[in-house]
């Protein structure tokens, strides 16, 4: 559909602009302000220019948590996107069974994040949790509070449990929007299941998948509450992701300048990657 050029449309957008600007720009400016100062307490702040930025870029603790973060977000996307598509393909297309599946699959999404952490904290325990107990019974030594690999895998498993439903729901609604005629045509051509998926379903899922990848990337990159409740970032710092490193720095050590400088860099990384995805979306829209 061609859009009409009309600058009066700004009046319709203005409420959103003002509302979001209020909650976004003022705090952002405050953070920028922190990032160029050394703050010892109220009224004791000194301008330090770009010193924090230089220091932060060479900080090994931050680099380590950045690497952990990329590994985590990468694993999240690699597992959740294919699994979500698979689940969406298996869900019944209509009727009461379809509705029921939809509701059951959505349950993890509706649980507050700290409760998600709490659920897994108990569920994965070796003594009173079903999951931890079952793994131990199977003869595998598993202890998420002591072993770094176990802890990492538990956080990943929790995230897969928590967020794959979002990908599945998005793909499910995408699949439902494919007209029946497409499938009939494929049947006439005696297309294989794989061909139907590859040449009919997957291309039509493209735009929902971009939304799914974008949302999952942004949210997994900022994961905070769930691992904090589950493992507290440990053992050691094996599950301390970026947000938590930042929070410890800003609130725990009151190292505001450094934390602010780093969160700006953090913001830019997310922004850059999201911009690439976003350009992909608009590009895909243009092609049609």
């Amino acid at each position: 559909m061609d859009k009409i050029p009309d600058n009066r449309a700004w009046w319709l957008v203005l409420p959103v602009f003002l509302l979001v600007a209020f909650s976004a720009l003022i705090p952002l400016m405050t953070v920028v302000n922190y990032s160029v100062q050394d703050i010892f307490g109220p009224g004791q702040a000194y301008y330090v220019g770009t010193e924090w930025f230089k220091e932060v870029l060479t900080d090994e603790r931050l680099q380590a948590s950045l690497v952990r973060q990329f590994a985590f977000s990468g694993a999240v996307l690699l597992i959740q996107i294919p699994l979500g598509i698979g689940v969406a393909l298996m869900m019944p297309k209509s009727g009461i069974k379809g509705s029921l599946c939809l509701i059951l699959v959505a349950i993890p999404l509706l649980i507050p994040w700290n409760v998600v952490g709490t659920i897994w904290q108990i569920f994965a325990r070796g003594d009173i949790g079903l999951f931890g107990w079952a793994i131990n019974q199977a003869g595998i030594d598993y202890n998420y509070t002591g072993d770094t690999v176990d802890a990492w895998l538990t956080v990943l498993l929790m995230d897969v449990w928590h967020w794959t439903p979002l990908v599945a729901l998005l793909c499910y609604s995408g699949l439902r929007a494919i007209p029946e005629a497409f499938y009939q045509a494929a049947e006439i051509d005696r297309a294989s299941k794989w061909a139907v998926f590859r040449y009919i379903q997957l291309p039509r899922l493209k735009s929902v998948l971009i939304i799914a990848v974008l949302l999952r990337f942004m949210d997994s990159f900022m994961i905070y509450i769930e691992p904090f409740v589950l493992t507290g970032g440990g053992p050691g710092s094996s599950t301390t992701f970026l947000s938590q490193t930042l929070t410890t720095m800003a609130i725990g050590q009151f190292d505001l300048g450094r934390a602010a400088a780093f969160s700006l860099i953090y913001f830019l990384i997310v922004l850059l990657i999201s911009w690439l995805f976003f350009t992909a979306i608009t590009h895909a829209d243009k092609e049609k």
Binding site: R8, A9, S23, P27, L28, L102, V115, Y172, Y224
Partner: protein, 268 residues
């Protein structure tokens, strides 16, 4: 139909795996603390409602749910009210800076919350809104409004512009057209948007906890109280957790058909 058979088995297995952790929470909420810590039992041996009784009889507990529901509802209403006209503008008109504005809106979902908490606290304290429902509702607009505009715009693009033009020829004014003709056509979109706004506001805790202290404290923050001198009160914690799932279930029950009809209707 062997294909369908495999699919049914697959989805059943997935849903069972998905529900096991939730069952474990439910299971625990009906146990006494002694039984929880005593060892592994697959179902409650001494079935008890005591944990729920604690929550329903103590105002400091159940007020947490009321507070959460209050700010979530305010947030959903504000989100829809501002996002509907904006999404209409984005779906119908080209205007100065539209693409940049759209991306800027989306970028607000990407700000790492950790360091923005302190500025948020200062901002809302300075305008006297600290510890009110409206403060949390406004703060949650930061990530809900952009998403709402995005989803609604997709649905609105699916409605041909001929409808708008016909309504004008029939003598409808813009507000009348928008409310009487246009909104009913994107009912599904509104349902889906309301669901997502509800969901993200209901599960968020960091901002909600930072902006409240007593009068508007969300249930998530109150749950941390179960960690007392004698250790964690697991039973009550589990019961509180189970109760946080119920409002979400009600909401998705109401919008289930809309979600099924296609979140991405306009985009696919």
């Amino acid at each position: 139909m062997r294909q369908t058979g495999y699919k049914n088995i697959g989805i059943t297995v997935y849903i069972l795996l998905l529900l096991t952790p939730v069952y474990w929470l439910l299971n625990m909420s009906f146990k006494t603390n002694r039984e929880i810590l005593g060892g592994l039992t697959l179902w409650p041996q001494n079935f008890t409602f005591d944990n729920y009784a604690v929550i329903f009889t103590d105002p400091s507990w159940y007020n947490g749910y009321l507070n959460s529901m209050a700010y979530v509802s305010i947030n959903v209403v504000i989100t829809l009210l501002v996002a509907l006209p904006a999404a209409y503008a984005f779906s119908r008109y080209k205007f100065l800076g539209d693409k940049h504005l759209f991306f800027w809106l989306l970028s607000n979902r990407m700000a790492p919350p950790a360091v923005f908490l302190l500025p948020f606290f200062q901002l809302y304290s300075s305008i006297g809104l600290f510890d009110t429902h409206i403060a949390v509702a406004l703060a949650h607009c930061l990530f809900n409004v952009p998403l709402a505009v995005w989803i609604l715009e997709g649905f609105m693009k699916g409605v041909p512009r001929e409808y708008d033009e016909m309504a004008y020829i029939d003598g409808y004014s813009f507000p009348k057209f928008f409310i009487k003709v246009f909104l009913p056509m994107i009912r599904s979109g509104i349902g889906v948007t309301a669901f997502f706004a509800f969901m993200f506001s209901w599960v968020e805790l960091l901002l909600a906890r930072t902006l409240t202290s007593v009068d508007a404290q969300p249930i998530g923050a109150i749950m941390t109280r179960t960690i007392g001198a004698s250790g964690i009160d697991w039973g009550v914690l589990a019961a509180a957790g189970v109760l946080t799932i119920i409002p979400g279930l009600l909401v998705i029950w109401f919008v289930r058909n809309h979600v099924a009809k296609g979140f991405a209707l306009g985009r696919v």
